[in-house]
């Protein structure tokens, strides 16, 4: 029951640990982003990708049971959150998927399949050059 957090409180804004905490794993075929989101209503979490930017936003609100009298300790972080990750060039934005597993949000970011060299057809437009 030692008040650890308050023994060494962060001295300033920005020194608080980020919330939620995130792991990023590189896979054979892409990346896996693990977001620690226990106690969060899945419907309150939005995952969006825009221009290679992955944003996980939402809020965690304390779910106190009826009949709660007093809050004696609050170490968990509550409130709205928003984490924004920059994705590499070779991902397939359309193929990104997410699912919940044991209070964690797994976001799977697949790499684009390598398609080898692609022949690009060229159009001829003689008229303009000779004009």
């Amino acid at each position: 029951m030692s008040p650890r957090y308050f023994d060494h409180p962060p001295q300033r804004w920005g020194a608080e640990p980020p919330f939620p905490l995130i792991d990023v794993v590189e896979l054979e075929d892409g990346y896996l982003v693990l977001v620690e989101l226990a106690g969060v209503d899945p419907t309150a979490v939005r995952v969006t990708v825009d221009q290679r930017r992955l944003v996980i936003a939402g809020a965690r609100e304390p779910e106190l049971p009826a009949g709660s009298r007093k809050l004696l300790r609050m170490e968990l972080t509550y409130g709205p959150f928003r984490r924004s990750l920059q994705l590499p060039l070779d991902i397939d934005a359309v193929g990104i998927s997410a699912r919940w597993l044991n209070g964690m949000l797994h976001v799977h970011v697949p790499r684009q399949a390598y398609r080898g060299s692609v022949e690009v057809e060229t159009d001829e437009d003689r008229g303009s050059s000779d004009r």
Partner: protein
Amino acid sequence: MTPENNDDNGITENNRPRPDLPPLEEGSQRVLPLLPLRGMVSYPQMLLPLNVEGERDTTLVDRVMFGDRLLALFTRRPAENETEEDDADEAPLTGGDLHPVGTLGVVLKMLRMPDGSMRLMIQGLQRVRLEEFIADGEYPRVRVSPLEESEPDTVRVKALRGSLTDIFSRVVELSNRDEDLLVAALNIEENSRLADFIAANLNLELEDRLRVLATADVQQRLELVTKLAGRELEVLKIGQSIQNEISEGMNRAQREYYLRQQLEAIRRELGESEQPSVELDELAERMKEKKWPESTAEKAQRELKRLRQMNPGSAEYVVAHTYLNWLLDLPWGHCSTDRLEIESARRILEEDHYGLAEIKDRILEFLAVRKLAPQSRGPILCFVGPPGTGKTSIGRSIARALGREFTRASLGGVHDEAEIRGHRRTYVGALPGRILQGLKTAGTSNPVFMLDEVDKLASDFRGDPSSALLEVLDPEQNDTFRDNYVEEPYDLSRVFFITTANTTATVPRPLLDRMEVIEFDGYTREEKAQIAKRYLFPRRREANGLTKKQLFLPIRTLRAVTDGYTREAGVRNLERAIGTVCRKVARKVAAGEVEERVVVEPAELDEYLGAPRVKLRRRRRRDCVGLATGLVWTPVGGEIVFVEVAAMPGKGGLILTGQLGEVMKESGRIALSYVRAHAKALGVDPDALSDVDVHIHVPAGAVPKEGPSAGVTLTTALVSLFTDRPVRNEVGMTGELSLRGEVLPVGGLKSKLLAARRAGLREVILPARNRPEVEEAFSDGEGPELDLDLHYVERVTEALKIALEDDGD
């Protein structure tokens, strides 16, 4: 705002871990629980750790924790009569107590402590204005509206931002704050947040913090924070330069301190852990009890002060310490009390020394004067006499008789003025002169101070010690004697100075003039025998471990020892000879060869001392022509000499032999001239004188002789030769001859007369003008008995009548 980053993991995060949360739209208002802040300010986006006490506030926090955890944070104005914090906390709040601009904050973390108080971590969210204070519930609430922040995007704002971060970076550097602060500041993009962040991390007065909070305009806020940061930078700079100065001084002092500590440790290791300060305290303690003249006391205080400031290891320290010790060791005003009982003093003197009546009288006289006039100065006596006559030992005896301390210094061979007067303190190993050293030994300022061998002072380029002695021995100026080392005047006037010398001839006149000369003539045979009986023999016997019952030397034996084995004025050899006898007897006793008391008779002395070494020159057995008996004085006592005269054919020349000195040679010429000039009156045939050379010889030829006192003797021998009348063998003579035939007085008569008697003479011819001296020396009852017929003569013709046998004319 698209950071191009291709790290390995390929996924990076933008730097805003937490979203803005503006709970209040512009123009809206909201009622929120009020948490008043004391002495602190919450800024938007800043974390604020907070302790909450008091029922009102804890209730409030309890309430909000179940809701959206939003609070209004307003700083309370310091109360005018703020004495006790607790009282002020519980005092009823009014809207007027609060600063008009505050912060909307959210509780991030909370911990309730066992005593009911709470610790909170609150994050500021938004500047809000106080619209209404509502005090109707369990805890006060406020209605707030957002404070619009206007942010003009001007060049000036950009410039301000640049200079603010610049100043802040230097503040961080100078104040040794965490460098992460700077990194965090550089990462803040919004100017409003930057200003708040830096303001929160500066060392500001509450008033300034509130001004920053209340400044809604971002440009103005940047300006304000820049100004405040600049001020802090200046303070830091000044602080640092002060610190530099101090640390420079400190470093030197610390270094010295450190070295001192080491030195102390080394001393302790060596077992020399004398605490200098303790030592000095002891000195100071002793100084308090010292009766110094005022100027000396001042000087000593100065020295002590100097010492305290010095490093105990330095050479200077040792010098000053030694000096101060000397000042303390000298007796200064301390004097012993004189024992002024004349009778007991006399007894002491008699006990210690046989004879020496003149000296004893002089001491008793001094005592008497001293008794009548306590302030009289001590006399300065000079004992002149041959070695071993008790000059030094009577000094001790005098001290004993007077009840004074005794100290002595031998001046023999001293050839440096500094020996008397000391060296200046600046020299290495400098010490006071012998005078003050002697006083230190004595421990009083009025000892009997014996200066031995003043006749053997030498002088060279280093100065003349006898001149230095002049100051010491002059009663007119020795009350302010200045030693070069001590530098302070020292009063020597109460010292009883006694000097000793073997002869006055080599004592400088001015020195001799200052002293009262007392002659030690040496002892007579009888005196020696008495001294031997009373002092020497008992002392030797004891020294050799014998008792009265084991050895006895009758006085006749002692006399025989004196006569046969010593030839001296004093008694040193006599004592040695007696010692030899004692030793040999001791050997016999130890070997068990004798059991009865040994009594050594004169005839047995050969056995102990060998054959007599000294054959006394005795008078001639028969009367002789051309041979007269003279009396001479030597440092070891009187002696008789024979003057031989011979005449041979020649041209009236004169030969003088026998190592005669100039004066004595002249005496010979005078004698011959007198005889020639008065040939007729003397009954001498003038012709007999014309064709002869005269030879005068005084044996023993190897012993130098000097002095005029042989004049009468020489004349007598010459007249005897030329008139062919023998000189009576039992007559000795002494006296200087003038060319007109007068007999002039001579010195050393006492010794001479004693020698005459010892040699077996019956009659002595001596100058009439010496009569008082002789009568004093041999007056009835006092002094040795003199079994001689004394003929005092004024003219040499009278002497001739006595000395020469009548030839019937």
